[in-house]
Symmetry: C2
Subunit: 447 residues, 2 copies
Amino acid sequence: MPADLAYDDPSSDVLLDPATGVRRSILPGGVRLLTQRDRSVRSATIGLWLPVGSRDETPAHAGSTHVLEHLLFKGTRRRSAMDIAAAFDEVGGDSNAVTAKEHTLYYGRVRSSDLPMAVDVLTDMITASVLAEDALATEREVILEELAMAEDDPGDIGYETFLADVLGPDTPIGRPVGGTAGSVEALTIEDVRDHFAEHYRPDNLVVTAVGDLDHEELAGMLQAGLRRGGWELAADAVPERRPRAAHPGPASAGLLTAPADVASLTPHRLSRPTEQNHIYLGGHGLTALSEDRHALSVLMSILGGGMSSRLFQNIREERGLAYSVYSFSAGYRDAGLFGMYAACRPGRTTQVVELLAEELSRMGEQGIDELELARAKGQITGSFALGLEDTSSRMGRLGTIELVHGRYTSVDETLARIGAVGIGDVSALASRLASSFSTRVEVGPDS
Amino acid sequence: MPADLAYDDPSSDVLLDPATGVRRSILPGGVRLLTQRDRSVRSATIGLWLPVGSRDETPAHAGSTHVLEHLLFKGTRRRSAMDIAAAFDEVGGDSNAVTAKEHTLYYGRVRSSDLPMAVDVLTDMITASVLAEDALATEREVILEELAMAEDDPGDIGYETFLADVLGPDTPIGRPVGGTAGSVEALTIEDVRDHFAEHYRPDNLVVTAVGDLDHEELAGMLQAGLRRGGWELAADAVPERRPRAAHPGPASAGLLTAPADVASLTPHRLSRPTEQNHIYLGGHGLTALSEDRHALSVLMSILGGGMSSRLFQNIREERGLAYSVYSFSAGYRDAGLFGMYAACRPGRTTQVVELLAEELSRMGEQGIDELELARAKGQITGSFALGLEDTSSRMGRLGTIELVHGRYTSVDETLARIGAVGIGDVSALASRLASSFSTRVEVGPDS
């Protein structure tokens, strides 16, 4: 099987990776199923993914994706909210859901003997939820509490503000995932039902599962569950797939031609009477499918990815200026960002901001060295290997492969690509990111 | 092997559980080593435990256990802080430490081929740290940032306050684990060195490890590492062991004879300009070794342990009054506590406090039913089984077995004890806890 097998392959059932047993089928209705059997465990993790997130909302319906995700736990034609909750609780399983900018995920982790239950409940939720008006009234209050909780976390609120500032506060991708208190209060049950009807369809559904399971059996349970909920699964349906960008480069919107001087950037300040200032500095980065994403992983590891990283050593270990300091990045279909974070008591803010900016500039001007490159590759490779011992992380990886990449990449292939990253790749990227530095957000007391 | 094998067994090397391969040795110096080999993974998690925590501090040295834990990462005679950080980073491993009220833990998770490195670095840290004065000066600032971060989290600060109020704010067990800004600022390097010299000794050390490892090889690496750091490991040394309480009952200090009326309890209020009020209600509970601890697990599951629990269903699902609501408990050698938590916007505080107290009272008066009991047992059993698929949780379980229990209990035995819990046990305990209700803490805006 070629390593870069694209999914344009018409076959409906493919063993994508004989070495690790990853298999993909297109089921009736265009439902995509990717599994990996792992005989060393007695559990399984299953995820049901819809390629719809907050970026697919209109401003008037901001937050509807997240509200719908909550309402799917509030009851189906066959199950009350208590039935759904008790089904996973009584077997000691985990079940939850995640709404993101570009997808929504419902997942469960259970002992393998409970997998039929998990499939039955999760398929019931995504096909046959009642979406009752009184349930929305109650759940809206829960979501307003969830938004209030995020508002009380200065790190959370700083990160959301940073994302909005970099990506565009009035753009679909830049808006906060949960909407705002105002937009959530304004949502009607019809808005939520419309959202459900438009996006929750067999040809949009991707199911990924890893653990002690049988692909054929799971395919059968899935189809039975979806049909029980009223979905018609036409034999000749094909998956709906978003156009796949052809090797997109760095997002150019907002890319500066000259590096911004940190001192010249007016901080976007949110005043809070907290003990610490929470600082986010960064700008546009790489899209999810950028050819440079492996160089970005290496760069992030060296800049602020661990205890031996430049930011940690310089700001925490040598100077004692912060407890938490790191770098981060996020990639979407057509946009991306990178940033650096630190929290410190107010009198140190100016110094910490300067040190963060200096580390990025220095890396942009002077690049990295062989020792740092080797250490970063070791870190990425080792943590990748450790992460793969967990069925949940592999379930997530299969979802990303299907929804984001649209092609299969084996673990060995990913590791080879990381191994191929050179000093020049990282240094060139550092230079580009240093030039794209545009945004400074601070949440905390006025100093 | 009897299920209740106590560690007074004089043998220095015992296969504690032939079914799961758990093995225990007493090494020279009185070092205790417990391992479980798991051939299904290619990684290992190792933990080095010292039975010393914040409760062993004098008031003048409050925070010294935690400060020492930080300083052990700052360099040994053979390694700089950067060497320690880079050793785990460059192989993609995790390494960290935890200071608690009754123990301190240093741990690492690595691919099994990196286990010799992990043992060498961790033994170096606990035997041969420099504990330099300038390192304390820098790290003190990091710890003050860590305390400031906790201060900014209303949930954290509420929980610490609740613990102190229940256990006694001026008692060793009730004081916060990290000390206060004042006590940390006052600590000298001599205080920290004294603490190290007193407690970091071979006969205090417990090592637990789970994964792709060999017990004999690990025992050899450990001894070599400890000797390299200068520890003498006498062949005839025996482990220092704290006296084991004989089936202690519920902590009686502060136990009320009549249930406190929630309305009559003056809340301990910490005023914060947050969106939500964070509410903690509870009182004295059970010690870690209480005979009723399995009934307590069942009770906590029913009261507020999952989405189907009474608190979640009543306060979140039916009324939409909170996003986060649950119950919790903690047990120590001679004290324990239980509590209920919810966060809500200020106008709802009174109603939420009443609902929390009512659920506990109702359970105390009316007990539980068969369906709830069965569901709770299923939840505990299932989540226990799922948790055991992870080497880190098993490493932690072996540490608890050695440090807290002082006797080996197999997984089957634990499950059998949970299975033996009856409706009467849980109902009687609920009645006792409802009578012990004594403490109400609220962090948030004045309503």
